[in-house]
Amino acid sequence: MKTRVWLKFFDKPRLEKPLAIVGSPGLRSVGKLALKYLVKEVKAKRFAELYSSSFPILYDTKPSYATMPRFPGIAGVKVKNGGAFIPRVRFYFSVSPELIMVRGYHANFEGQYEVAEKVVEVLEEFKVKRMFVLAGYGWDGPQVCCAASNHQLIEEMKKFGLTTGYVGPFMGFSGLVFGLGVLKNIEGICLFGKTQPHPEKPEFPDPEAGKNVFRKLREILSLNNGNRFS
């Protein structure tokens, strides 16, 4: 497939052993929201952006992350406050705690794997050994449940009151970054926030579910310096 993926760095942060946190606009935008709260909490700085010829601004599939061959979508720019923005994956960092945060963007079928692979390459470059992937799930179960790349991690998450719950496909950007990261020996933990699916607008934001995931992540990362949503 002829997908072009390229990176633009604004800064090259020096980090010793960063954890990565990944979120993208999936089911009810739970992952994207949780990541947004984290970025604000740790006052993260943007240091890189990833662009791809497979990033549509208008998707042919609904939800956007349920990609299908032959449904490439329409390319273009996003406009915000009079400014134009090419669709992009955004990389942020914080020094204390040492984190790399990835705000994802869903490529079409042609580029999903290439984009995820490039993101994993960036994480490898920063010697990331563990990532947390934030997303939503639309089943009965706890407010936040987990999945992981191995059983030890699932055991480790039990001390934060987390159990497994969701079973099935994990679609789109975050799912593939998680899976391809595992292939590159980056261990992964998914935090799924319970939400109510919205058939008409699958990515319609559910801030409460986003906050639940963020609170759990904050507990795991021992971020006690703020009172947001506590």
Partner: protein, 263 residues
């Protein structure tokens, strides 16, 4: 990425046969090959990942994650016959470009490993479920192979097509002068009321029995026999439920008897 390969070991094999069973519409192929992998205790030697696979990962019941992948296993035949290479996986490539690319990649490996014969498996869909043992149909890439399948009760397909990866792989094998046999199990496409496909284990059993006769390999079939009986019972119940539902519908649709009056 297109295709990414994770080679775990480099087996040296004796005149191996390649048996392919990626999941397709009827799931018979995967059922057969997975059964062989389990019963022969075959060893995984390669994982294949491709950007032509569906763009998601699977969260399994135990909470761990699995990428979409194809897997190659090998089995050494200590009985003196050919070794086996078994291809299975949790998906097949979604586009024709991907199917060609992955199939060609597998055929190159097959050539390098000395494969002389390829078996692929698929489904032959019929309208009505039969209480008889499902038939096995066959297609061969070389006229010399016809006799080999016919003598084991396989009915050669006169015309039609074998769709998807399992058909393509076998067709491309012909271009590489590798003898290919495709076995198709007769089945009815059953789905549960929630739309889930019911795997016809009885058809898989028929294909497996023929495959074992042709290859001369011995495998314990008791488990698949048990599964086939369970499927048969399940299908019978579905048919009963369908029949009952149709009767109920026909009752409600029967027009009320009209009373006619002479005026």
């Amino acid at each position: 990425m297109s295709i990414r390969v994770k080679r775990l070991t480099e087996p040296t094999l004796k005149e191996p046969l390649l048996i392919c069973g990626l999941p397709d519409r009827g799931f018979i192929a995967k059922q057969v090959v997975d059964y062989l992998v389990e019963k022969l205790n075959a060893e995984l030697f390669e994982e294949i990942y491709s950007s032509y696979f569906p763009s998601y990962v699977l969260i399994k019941k135990d909470g761990t994650v699995e990428l979409m992948k194809n897997e190659l296993y090998f089995w050494r035949n200590n009985g003196g016959g050919s070794d086996l290479i078994l291809l299975t996986g949790n998906t097949q490539p979604l586009t024709p470009e991907g199917q060609y690319e992955v199939a060609e990649d597998i055929l190159v490996k097959a050539e390098n490993l000395g494969v002389k014969r390829i078996f692929t498996i698929s489904s032959y869909f019929v309208e009505k479920h039969s209480t008889e043992k499902p038939k096995v149909y066959g297609v061969v890439t070389n006229p010399n192979l016809k006799e080999e399948v016919v003598k084991h009760g396989v009915q050669l397909l006169d015309r039609g097509s074998v769709k998807g990866f399992n058909g393509l792989l076998f067709g491309l094998a012909k271009l590489k002068n590798i003898g290919g046999i495709c076995l198709l199990g007769e089945t009815v496409e059953y789905t549960t009321p929630s739309g889930r496909m019911v795997i016809d284990v009885k058809a898989a059993q028929s294909v497996l029995e023929v495959l074992l006769k042709i290859t001369g390999i011995e495998v314990d079939l008791s488990e698949i026999e048990k599964q086939a009986k369970t499927t048969e019972e399940f299908l019978r119940r579905i048919e009963e439920a369908e029949h009952q539902a149709l009767e109920e519908i026909s009752k409600t649709l029967t027009p009320k008897r009209q009373t006619y009056y002479y005026i």
